[in-house]
Subunit: 470 residues, 2 copies
């Protein structure tokens, strides 16, 4: 593991008898085996693992509350664990303590098709959810690259390729069941589409990364499966013309469902990894949802814009299976990138800027990266102004990691100067804590500290993450 990305944290002592009490309560759903702890001490981030002292496999909200009370009483850290697909070190037990595995809580609790809502336990994954509701004619559009759990997606305010049309978890979570640090169980809201009744606890927990409470149930909005769907690839001579096209499409208000950017390296990596034969130049992947007439109209408008910007003719993915293959490849772009450089790890950036600044931000960043000593790819949910750089690093070469950190720091500085954010959808975790002060300022950060202190006075919930020490 690289020696550059480290965390400074002290493991807290575990009081005598603490682990034994968990074992007595949970039986074989509690483990201190090294292999189990190792699995729960790592994610997709490039950090060295940080193992919890024990792992509980929870089956009910009441069990989660029991664990929270037990941990809170003894001031032992408690880290919620779902798919383990974080890129930012969210689930590492940097202060030790208990990892709470919620993947066994994977039941769809209530489908309210008439209201376009569904309530699921936190461990349900996005693919499982869509499989289980397929017959209703509804779907849940949010799709981070990984098959993440709904609980994890809510906790990191995740989004994905459909957010440009359907919004992020911020807009799509209607209500949460949450266990507080001291083991109380609350429901943050009802199921009405809007409410002005009190502080927005739902959105306070969405994006709180397990630091304010443990999410055990998630109620989200669903959408009617569109009558017509079409998808197309559009190649461009360069990065600038692709990004400029997106800016114009958004400014025109075209309700495009997906518009994803891949740079040349990402296209090559995807062709190799996913056995596609995309034309090898920077490109945009589009998907249009609507009535047959509406989809046709959107596609025509978009083609006029891309063509005026030097884009090539659309290559249509006519059949559902072609579309699935295309989007599966897009979702695998992270792994495709890693394969560009066998044995590498990726340090992945996630800035998001106002769309008017997107071209500048991407171009200046690409210029920086072209001078770097390692390969990279650029992928982007560019309709939202959000893009990722995968920097493909030799895990054993500290110089590369230092270089990548410098590039990331200057990228974030650039994004913040453009009124953007250091993270559009991956969250803060460990890796972006250093940017919180620059992004929010001392006074706003102090308010976040005050919320944390009010909700979790013993600092047991995912300690050492998100909010940097004052």
């Amino acid at each position: 593991m690289n020696a550059v990305l480290q965390y400074q944290a002290q493991r807290r002592p575990i009081p005598a008898g603490f682990l034994e009490a968990l074992g007595a309560h949970f039986g074989d759903r509690f483990s201190t085996a090294h292999s189990v702890r190792d699995h729960h001490g790592r994610d997709e981030s490039p950090y060295p693992p940080a193992l919890p002292d024990g792992v509980v496999y929870a089956a009910t909200t009441e069990e989660v509350a029991w664990v929270a009370r037990h941990c809170n009483e003894h001031k032992v850290p408690l880290v919620a664990f779902g798919a383990g697909s974080s890129l930012e070190g969210h689930v590492l037990a940097v202060e030790g303590g208990i990892s709470l595995d919620l993947t066994g809580m994977n039941r769809v609790v209530a489908v309210n098709a008439e209201d376009l809502t569904v309530t699921v336990q936190a461990g349900v994954t996005r693919k499982q959810l869509n499989a289980e509701i397929r017959d209703t004619g509804l779907f849940f559009p949010l799709d981070p690259g990984a098959d993440a759990t709904l609980g994890g997606m809510a906790a990191t305010r995740a989004s994905g390729t459909n957010a440009v049309r359907y919004g992020t978890m911020r807009e799509n979570v209607m209500s949460l069941k949450v266990v507080t640090a001291d083991g109380r169980i609350i429901q943050t809201a009802g199921r009405a589409r809007k409410s002005s009744a009190g502080y927005d606890l739902t959105r306070l927990f969405v994006g709180s990364e397990g630091t304010l409470g443990i999410i055990t149930e998630v109620t989200v909005r669903l959408y009617p499966q569109p009558e017509a769907v079409s998808a197309a690839v559009c190649n461009f001579p360069d990065l600038h013309s692709a990004v400029q096209s997106v800016i114009e499409i958004i400014q025109m208000g075209v309700p495009v469902a997906r518009v994803e950017f891949m740079d040349l390296a990402a296209v090559k990596a995807t062709n190799a990894y996913s056995k596609l034969s995309l034309h090898e130049s920077p490109l945009l992947l589009f998907e249009f949802h609507g009535s047959p007439g509406g989809v046709r109209e959107q596609a025509e408008t978009v083609q006029e814009i891309t063509s005026a910007n030097g884009g090539m003719a659309f290559e249509w993915a006519e059949h559902p299976e072609d579309r699935s293959r295309l989007w599966a490849a897009r979702h695998d772009a992270y792994f495709a990138g890693l394969h560009l450089r066998p044995g590498s790890r990726s340090s992945t950036t996630d800035v998001c800027v106002p769309i008017s600044r997107l071209a500048d931000c991407v171009l200046e960043t690409a210029a920086d990266l072209d001078r770097a000593s390692f390969p990279y790819t650029i992928l982007g949910h560019v309709g939202d102004g959000n893009f990722h750089v995968l920097m493909l690093l030799d895990p054993d070469n500290p110089l590369e990691w230092q270089e990548s950190e410098r590039i990331n720091q200057s990228l974030v500085t650039r994004a913040l100067q453009m009124q953007g954010t250091c993270t559009g959808e991956h969250g803060i975790g460990l890796h972006k804590m250093e940017f919180m002060l620059a992004e929010h300022g001392r006074d706003a950060l102090d308010l976040m500290h005050a919320v944390k202190q009010a909700f979790d006075p013993n600092n047991i919930l995912n300690p050492g993450k998100m909010i940097p020490p004052a």
Copy 2:
């Protein structure tokens, strides 16, 4: 004024020299004149006025911070004041103190047309905003009945007739400038369309009703003016068939921009007050936004649904001026209702329920109301599951007020049993505090208390509102 709707609150003593210091600092922008205090001690709610001890007309965020520091140091209540159009008693100075009039902060700070955002000072009203940005081809869709200020709309999480398509202030506020209780100035977010960087302070202040901070600037999303707009009226034989039509339209996913319900009494009141000649039966007002083809398609789908439910043929408002007249009449429906019973005051309900329960909720409520001794009208943003009953009461008859409170209580109980909320868009203020415990439960309410305590330990910000005493 009625003797039934009262507030229990103690006026706090004003320390010697406190008002004089404000006078010295603000000159003629500070007033203790009775007429000025009276204007700032009342709103559109039926409560008797509660006068502040003095009124400051703020011109800058820094001035707001100065007032906050001064009030906080002396533990004097501070109540933000905008258009004064609250229906729930939000701006009444029930514990005395200072009313902070923000209507002079009415400047559009930055139009970022390319990013579809605008930043305004808190005192800008929705109509002023749309007038000032008209030339950009963009518009801000949210339209509470009154010409409210953007600051007030953010503070109450307001919405209006367009929310079914464009969302509420929850979805449309991108960032806020806020003065904290102790006079610090924070910006809650940048201008990126999405972010996963830390707790969602923006949405914590949206809907906080002036109890957590004073909003001085608001950045909201804008939308391209639709290429085509059409509006139509559809009459129904009864309430049930109208509401059932709406449920089916929403479940089909038709992106209707507006769908408003008026019961027979509301139609009659509107014809009389706004000099219209609407056919007098329960009706729906529709508006469709999109391309010419898209609008036609939406209208056809909706007509099929309404017609299958017994709706009459659409009456189209073809010309822009006809549409403006129709929607102006809808926005005046509150005043039209009051004119049904000259000299009356309205107690206005605001429940919102999941759409599958909307017909039941409206019908059971209408049955209750038909037994009441006073006239009423029902109006609704029914696409969101939200409707208002205007109960037109004799201000001097305590029996009517008691009766209206009983009806409102059973309406809210019904809505909560349906997983709805006591307020879809008007906020809690004074009048709905009694429902907060039933809606949220003790533990969630305790978390709200904890936030309030953390942000405003001296309880100077709009005290006596929203969160009932523990």
